[in-house]
């Protein structure tokens, strides 16, 4: 496989890998490193790539596992503390000035979810993966995925309503 072919192959999902890494590792720099590492790992195994039915799902699983390892290692946990106050700076958010604060609150609420719920919510509601694909990526049964997704959605919504009702920040 040539470099150009490989780059074409990973192009559709490199951003998804990056966003998943960022969701889990919080900091942009860490997520960029993780993405680079994943792409490089894929490139190193380029001979085997054709054996996989779904390279994208494979790459996403690899990313998930890699981020878990990073989170487990002490180094990453130190980095996480540093980036606890990390704020999203999305230009598209600027358009919705009136709901910007609320969107930031959603971001914080999602941050507080358990890792697996974070991943599944990200894969479904941000990346719009089919359930079968999510099952393959997180290596879980469909019912378990649905339960986790439902819990994540309900937790975020209930917390949001609570905050709006009581004005707690």
């Amino acid at each position: 496989m040539k470099e150009s072919d490989f780059l074409k192959l990973i192009k559709p999902f490199k951003d998804k890998v990056f966003r998943l890494a960022k969701k889990l590792l919080v900091s942009r720099e860490e997520a960029e490193d993780a993405t680079q590492e994943m792409i490089f790992k894929l490139w190193k195994n380029k001979e085997k790539i054709s054996d996989y039915k779904n390279i994208e799902a494979f790459a996403m699983t690899m990313t998930k596992n890699y981020c878990y390892d990073r989170l487990k290692s002490k180094q990453a946990s130190n980095l996480r503390l540093v980036h606890n106050n990390y704020k999203e700076k999305e230009t598209s958010l600027e358009k919705k000035i009136e709901s910007k604060d609320a969107v930031n609150i959603v971001h914080e609420l999602v941050e507080q979810l358990p890792e697996i719920q974070k991943i599944i919510l990200q894969l479904r509601d941000v990346e719009h993966y089919e359930f079968e694909e999510i099952c393959a990526i997180v290596e879980m049964k469909p019912t378990a995925v649905r339960v986790a997704l439902s819990r994540a959605r309900k937790t975020v919504r209930n917390a949001l309503i609570k905050k709006q009702n009581y004005g707690i920040n």
């Binding site: 780059l7 890998v17 680079q36 999305e90 598209s92 990200q122 990346e127 719009h128 649905r146 975020v156």
Partner: protein, 140 residues
């Protein structure tokens, strides 16, 4: 979309049972301008999801970073071992010099002690001579 169908879809959505198409409909509804007031909280949720998706990986993709790193790492380890070796020999040399100096000092001290001992002997002998000289002669 009608409000009742939106509400129905939301129940399905919260139970994790909506299809991708249904979720796309919900997204369209909640990112539009007219959202029912009692469903406002979903606006920020769906806006958040849409905003997150705009984040992209913009750095260049390097396909040979590891190799470069390896060479660098190897070079660094070689450099580190050389520095270690140099500092070790330097310290060892200093320690050796100090040891040698101590040894020399001990030898000199020993030699001087020996000399002074011998001198003392001579002194004692000389004292005897003096005492002999000063002793008054016995009268017959």
């Amino acid at each position: 979309m009608e409000l009742t169908s939106v509400e129905k879809l939301l129940i399905k959505y919260n139970n994790g049972n909506t299809s991708l198409q249904e979720e796309s409909d919900l997204r369209d509804y909640f990112t539009s301008e007219f959202v029912a007031p009692h469903l406002q909280e979903y606006v920020s949720v769906f806006t958040y999801f849409t905003a997150v998706k705009n984040d992209t990986y913009n750095k260049d993709i390097l396909l040979k970073p590891k190799k470069f790193n390896n060479i660098r790492r190897k070079f660094m380890s070689v450099a580190a071992s050389i520095v270690l070796l140099l500092s070790a020999t330097f310290v060892a040399k200093q320690e050796y010099d100090r040891f040698q100096a101590h040894k020399k000092l001990a030898q000199i001290t020993k030699g001087l002690k020996l000399l002074s001992n011998q001198l003392k002997k001579g002194e004692v002998a000389l004292a005897n001579v003096y005492s002999y000289k000063t002793t008054p002669k016995l009268k017959n």
